[in-house]
């Protein structure tokens, strides 16, 4: 297991990136549309400053850590991609990459959480402690995505690397792959995509 201080520091990127994304959105709303490194640095510092603000003697980062020790590696990666794409207007992830990411978050979450919370006798969370079908499925899925040049595969590769380096507080591989916020956001994103797909296309006047 890594040093506690390292784990403490590595618990921050998730909430920091979520806050940064929110500040980006607010900056765009307020008309601060001069994108680039300068704005990204300022917003990043502002997000870090907010996380360091104390509430009842505990920093906001500490409150966030109290509820969720750390975000999963793919979710941190997706947040970083979203921040980058929002700032530099340059696509890092294709539509297929995003769909793979949301589908993974939604399906893995729906497979894990109900059973882990006691629905039935089988606990898939146990698969994350040592070698199990979870690692085999992860290997096949990651290889398949990389073979298809799907960049979400890179995030899954980072997740298994982080697991071996014990970069998170948890020693369970599931926590490197998935977290409840990622699952919720995935379900929401898929629902929006499905809603958009089901919407009838308007005829355009030529």
């Amino acid at each position: 297991m890594s040093h506690p201080t390292a784990i403490l520091v590595l618990s921050a990127p998730g909430p920091w990136l979520i806050l940064l994304l929110a500040l980006q959105f607010l900056a765009n709303l307020c008309g601060l549309k001069t994108r680039g490194w300068c704005r990204l640095t300022l917003l990043g510092l502002a997000a870090a400053g907010l996380l360091l603000l104390p509430i009842q003697g505990i920093r906001i980062a500490g409150w966030v850590r109290s509820v969720s020790a750390s975000s999963s590696v793919p979710f941190i990666g997706l947040l970083a991609v979203a921040v980058w794409e929002g700032e530099f207007r340059r696509k890092l992830f294709s539509n297929a990459d995003w769909i793979a990411a949301w589908a993974f978050g939604a399906l893995a979450g729906l497979g894990l959480y109900p059973l882990a919370l006691g629905w039935g006798n089988f606990d898939p969370y146990e698969w994350g402690w040592s070698f199990s079908p979870l690692f085999a499925i992860s290997a096949v899925l990651t290889a398949l995505l990389l073979w298809k040049r799907n960049r979400f595969g890179l995030l899954l590769l980072l997740a298994i690397a982080a697991y071996h380096l014990r970069l998170l507080e948890s020693a369970n591989y599931w926590d490197y792959l998935l977290d409840p916020v990622y699952c919720f956001v995935s379900l929401l994103a898929l629902a929006i995509k499905l809603g958009n797909a089901a919407r009838p296309v308007r005829a355009t006047n030529v």
Partner: protein, 387 residues
């Protein structure tokens, strides 16, 4: 990824990294410690029947005391922990610790060893409440382990488990560390009963989940070259049997006795014959349970001793029952408390190396009572009818 060489390298890396855990041992698989592997037991110090009882914390300034556990130190002293405060779940609740010198009945003045503030500082998190401390000790090294729960938001279902240890008999404690045992915000993992030692010098601790469902689980603790490994497995799912008390009958066989919150109100038991890899479906015993904690140990004479509330409605009594046939039939042996409307709850049993049986429990929610007796005293007790 446009270059085929890079793509093949990444694919190979993915397969290799996901295969690496094959080289590590499974997170469980150690057998329960065989009694012969445990340190030699000194002969019983007092062969004649004896029974003593006292309050550990008489005249406590705290209005409420609850959920005690007890263990034996290498020098024969006893150590007990419990939580106390103005009321259950209040922010002023703290974990208290006291020791009892061998052969005496006056416990040391209770010390506060954990408060929400201290836990918050050590865990780098907001901690509003602490509770359910369970203490146990290495048979050889004398290291004390203390598991306890913390809550940031909500009630007991929002609990997470934490661990701290002491190498000086409880004078000082290492900074607490959080155990990540649940994928859903690490919520709803609690501890209540005594652990069982493993053949690889690790521990298996009966724990439980209490959120949407209530079900028993096992926490596996091992210290290795990479530090402490804490993993978890499930005994059974469901919504009624929890707070398991684990009793090892052999290297691969164990029973898990469970508190029952279903309308059936009977103690249930599950059995493993493969060192907790699989468990039988729980079956009901012919012993009632008013949705309250129980404790069970295997005595050195082979009998299983159970401390429980012998009622399906309340916690107004506390009885001992024993089974000489590995839990199939039970005889009620002694009534330790009987006062309708009062509460005598959360028993925790221990058999010390000299054969003395110790029991601590919540006494009217005001204090913690310690009872000590030996097998000879148990043998003098007649079978009692149920109420």
């Amino acid at each position: 990824m446009r270059r085929p060489g890079v793509r093949w390298f990444l694919i190979a890396a993915a397969i290799a990294l996901n295969s690496l855990p094959l080289l590590r041992p499974a997170h469980r698989g150690a057998e329960f410690s065989h009694p012969a592997e445990l340190p030699a037991q000194p002969p019983p110090s007092r062969p004649e029947p004896f029974f003593t009882q006292e309050l550990i914390n008489p005249g406590s300034p705290r209005a409420m005391s609850h959920v005690a556990s007890i263990c034996e130190l290498p020098d024969g002293r006893l150590a007990a922990v419990w939580y106390a405060g103005s009321r259950e779940g209040a922010p002023d609740v703290a974990v208290c610790f006291a020791r009892l010198p061998r052969g005496q009945t006056n416990w040391s003045t209770p010390q506060t060893i954990l408060t929400p503030e201290r836990a918050s500082r050590e865990l780098h998190r907001a901690v509003r409440k602490v509770g359910n401390p369970v203490i146990f000790s290495d048979a050889g090294g004398g290291k004390l382990w203390l598991l306890y729960v913390t809550i940031t938001l909500g009630g007991w279902s929002g609990s997470s488990l934490n661990l701290t240890t002491s190498n000086d008999g409880g004078l000082t404690w290492t900074p607490s560390r959080r155990l990540t045992l649940s994928p859903f915000f690490n919520l709803s993992e609690l501890v209540r009963n005594r652990p069982v030692p493993l053949s690889d010098r690790g521990w298996v601790v009966p724990i439980y989940h209490e959120c949407i469902g209530k079900f028993p689980e096992l926490l596996w603790l091992r210290e290795g070259a990479d530090g402490l490994a804490a993993t978890k497995s499930r005994i059974t799912g469901g919504r009624s049997g929890f707070q398991p008390a684990l009793v090892a009958l052999g290297t691969n066989t164990a029973l898990a006795f469970m508190r029952d919150c279903s309308p059936r109100r009977l103690i249930s038991v599950a059995q493993t014959d493969d060192a907790a890899r699989t468990w039988s479906p729980p079956r009901a015993l012919d012993l009632p349970n008013p949705d309250s904690g129980l404790s069970a140990i295997r005595l050195t004479d082979g009998r299983i001793l159970l401390a429980f509330n012998d009622s399906d409605t309340g916690r107004g009594n506390l009885r001992l029952a024993a089974s000489a046939d590995e839990g199939r039939t039970w005889k009620r042996l002694a009534t330790l408390e009987e006062e309708p409307g009062a509460e005598f709850s959360y028993p925790f049993l221990l058999q010390a190396r000299d054969g003395t049986i110790h029991l601590v429990y919540t006494w009217k929610r005001q204090a913690i009572r310690h009872v000590a007796f030996n097998a000879a005293w148990l043998n003098t007790r007649q079978s009692q009818p149920s109420t």
